[in-house]
Amino acid sequence: MDEQKFDYQYKDPNHGHYRELFYTYDKEGNYSKGVRFHDDSDRIFIEQFWDNQKDRIKEAHHEVLAGNKSPIYYYMEKTLMDPMTLSSQASISLWRVKRHFKPGVFTRLSEKTLAKYAKTFNITIEQLKNIE
């Protein structure tokens, strides 16, 4: 198989520092592989995903400060989880996780449960209780 050489740099400084190996098929019917950055068209949906993720984190932060959601909700979004992932990573059942999103329920949580969450998010219990 032919090796291709690419030398262009991706323009956005925040993305595309890492080059991947891609295979291609050209009109003459040859497969080739080469190490390059993602195409501009690929970057669009990668950025869309991260924009969406950032919006979610921002919104979660607002919700927590407004007192509608517990800090667990914010940290879940911050570590890119959904309730399902959080439930399996912290070994707490899904309906309990969802219940713990309520600020009233969160204040009554035991130290043991809080420790489970803190370990999952890789932070201390103090940080879990008071978000910045």
Binding site: E20, Y31, D42, I44, M81
Partner: protein, 333 residues
Amino acid sequence: MINYTHHQAGHCESGTTSNLFNYYGMEISEPMAFGVGNGLYFTYIPFLKVQYAPMISFRNLPNTIFRRGTKRLGADAIVIKKFKTPKESMDALDRNLEKGIPTGLQVGVFNLPFFPPEYRMHYNMHNLVIYGKEGDLYHVSDTVMEEPQTISYNDLQRVRWVKGAFAPNGKMYWINQVDKNADLKKAVADGIAKTVYEMTKIPIPLLGTKGMRFMAKDLRKWPKKHGKEKASFYLGQILRMAEEVGSGGAGFRFIYGAFLKEAGEKFNCPGLLETSEMMGKAANKWREFSYMGARNCKSRSEPTEDYGMLADMLKEISYMEEDVYKKLDKIEI
């Protein structure tokens, strides 16, 4: 440290398998490992949400490529599916390294320290090879990265024992011995037959080419059902799975085409060469689909391309691929 050569690869598991074979002196390229080990797949599970979008997968279950690949190529390989405790798993790894065996691991991506931040998701089906230990540091060959990396004991233990869907539980695998006179022809034939079965013959509408058409049908409805913003996000998820997550482009279709071509040239089989052309065209169509789809991801609330058109395109691709598998089914290698 073991004298292990790191090659970057398109897909983590086929790259790992191919690198391990190469280490033992058997020349198996990445596409070959991918094809023989049944890497190609398609699943669409709308009711299972991953990061708030329907689950779509272009790859087979974790460890399939290694297990089936080594079995068909007659290599003496061992897979330890899970350990009881993290300590035990790390000790087993250390023992292997002392014996001089490069060892493959299944890990979660999220806490890998050397990984690009934009790939860090809760994805537990990543594969890498450990080939040396110096003090607290392990030498890692991760096929996504251009250069070999290092990782500390604690970090490695953490990524090996991440919880969640497809939790690795310390899974490790290695090759003891390869059979250099293995019947490659039969291995290729078996690999192709199984892929054809998985892509066209399983009677579940969410798998294989039927799954693609199912997804096309849903794609048409998304803007009405979920609103334009969400439809664009879901579409982005399909494209991300196809192009981004270590797929070598077009959801592994290029790698599979390259496999068909390599096999065709090796065994002098015109049928395989023809199918490799068809596969290449289907893969290019996938690329075209992602170009078109990306436009809808750019203008999220005002789609520039019609979702119906994209759905038609997806349907066309599914028939193109189905032709490939039907043809492969009849070929005698």
